[in-house]
């Protein structure tokens, strides 16, 4: 057996889960590092309130730890986490709907409930991978890449970005809208190839 394969198997999810179950809590860090980013983006596709994304990811990993003995060896740990996160999102949105029914931003979040009721849960795994690939296709040092970096990596809004690219805030918004549409089209194309 090649050494790399042996190492991969040694540190596979099942082995890590078994180690955590026998009391090696620090191995849970490895599981987190392996799966958190993917889960975080999947959750972000569903929930577009940043602090709620963080809460769901946190709760998912804590819940998974508490029920680690229920994880079926040989199955996908990522899929298990996604199922937990999905249930947490559903519960969170139902709670939100109850508590915020009369708030003005309720209408924005009602869309989540509609989507979840429609049962689109399997759609976001390949979507994350496709999005990653589509981002890599953006030309290096291009205007698009710079805008995406300033908006999403630096967390700036269009008013803040405008002077940095010597354009108006309106231009920044319209261009960002176009880039997101292009990314969406690219993801849809790739997702058609990799179906969940």
């Amino acid at each position: 057996m090649p050494a790399t394969l042996a190492i991969k198997e040694l540190h596979g999810d099942d082995a890590l889960v078994a180690a955590v179950c026998t009391g090696d809590v620090q191995k849970y860090r490895l599981l987190f590092e392996r799966h958190a980013e993917q889960l975080q983006v999947q959750v972000a596709f569903q929930v577009w309130v940043p602090h709620l994304v963080s809460e769901i990811v946190h709760e998912t990993f804590v819940w998974a730890y508490q029920h680690l003995d229920e994880f079926q060896s040989g199955t996908s740990f990522q899929a298990w986490l996604r199922a937990i996160a999905w249930n947490l999102i559903r519960a969170e949105l139902q709670k939100f709907a109850r508590e915020h029914k009369h708030r003005k931003d309720y209408s924005k979040h009602r869309l989540w409930l509609d989507r979840i009721a429609a049962g689109e849960e399997c759609a976001d795994g390949p979507k994350v991978e496709a999005l990653r690939k589509c981002l890599n296709r953006l030309q290096k040092d291009s205007r698009e890449q710079k805008l995406i970096h300033l908006r999403y990596h630096e967390g700036l809004n269009s008013k803040q970005i405008a002077p940095l690219v010597s354009q108006s805030p309106v231009w920044v918004r319209v261009t960002l809208h176009r880039i997101i549409h292009q990314l969406r089209a690219c993801v849809a194309e790739r997702k058609a190839i990799v179906r969940c």
């Binding site: 009391g23 849970y28 987190f32 975080q40 577009w48 804590v62 730890y65 003005k104 967390g155 918004r173």
Partner: protein
């Protein structure tokens, strides 16, 4: 019809409140506008997380591990306690002889033997005082004797002994319990 600029500004939350309300009213009334906004919001949120989520992820990681370690500690404590509770009857059975011995010396004192009624006459037969109120003077005399003893031992060098007295060795049963519990904690 919503413009691209409006939609992005709405997602950025940089629209004035009246305009934001107008956008919301639009996408409630118009299903196509709602779909457009939903898709953009999804990508906006996903891109923010994918490209700018590393710092937040580190924070979540620390928070998850803190929660997990805390739970692990509680579980260890609980398992230590369960172990202790499980061991208790075993300790009793293993020290059964010692209890029996105590019962012989102190009949009726062991709460486990509460069903065994001991009459005053039986106690008197074994020379055990049945009146512990000190009314006959014996208890207070004994107390004074104890005090005198303490003073005698404490004034060996002419000073009152204030050094901590060695605590009596706890019973084996109690020692076993504590060890089990704290060993559990330290794991």
């Amino acid at each position: 019809m919503l413009t691209h600029e409006q939609v992005i500004a709405y997602l950025e939350e940089t629209l004035p409140p009246e305009e934001a309300a107008g956008v919301e009213a639009e996408f409630i009334a118009d299903a196509a506008a709602a779909t457009q906004l939903t898709e953009l919001a999804q990508y906006d949120s996903a891109l923010r997380t994918l490209l700018g989520g590393a710092v937040e992820r580190t924070r979540i990681e620390e928070s998850v591990l803190a929660a997990v370690c805390e739970k692990s500690l509680h579980e260890t404590e609980a398992s230590g306690l369960r172990q202790t509770l499980k061991q208790k009857p075993d300790h009793r059975s293993s020290n059964h002889g010692r209890h029996e011995e105590n019962n012989m010396n102190n009949p009726g004192k062991n709460p486990d033997d509460i069903t065994k009624a001991v009459t005053k006459d039986q106690m008197a037969e074994q020379g055990i005082p049945t009146d512990l109120s000190g009314a006959d003077g014996r208890q207070s005399d004994r107390y004074r004797e104890d005090l005198a003893d303490e003073e005698k031992w404490g004034q060996g060098d002419g000073k009152k002994d204030t050094s901590p007295k060695p605590t009596p060795a706890p019973e084996a049963e109690t020692q076993g319990e504590d060890n089990g519990y704290y060993n559990g904690l330290s794991q």
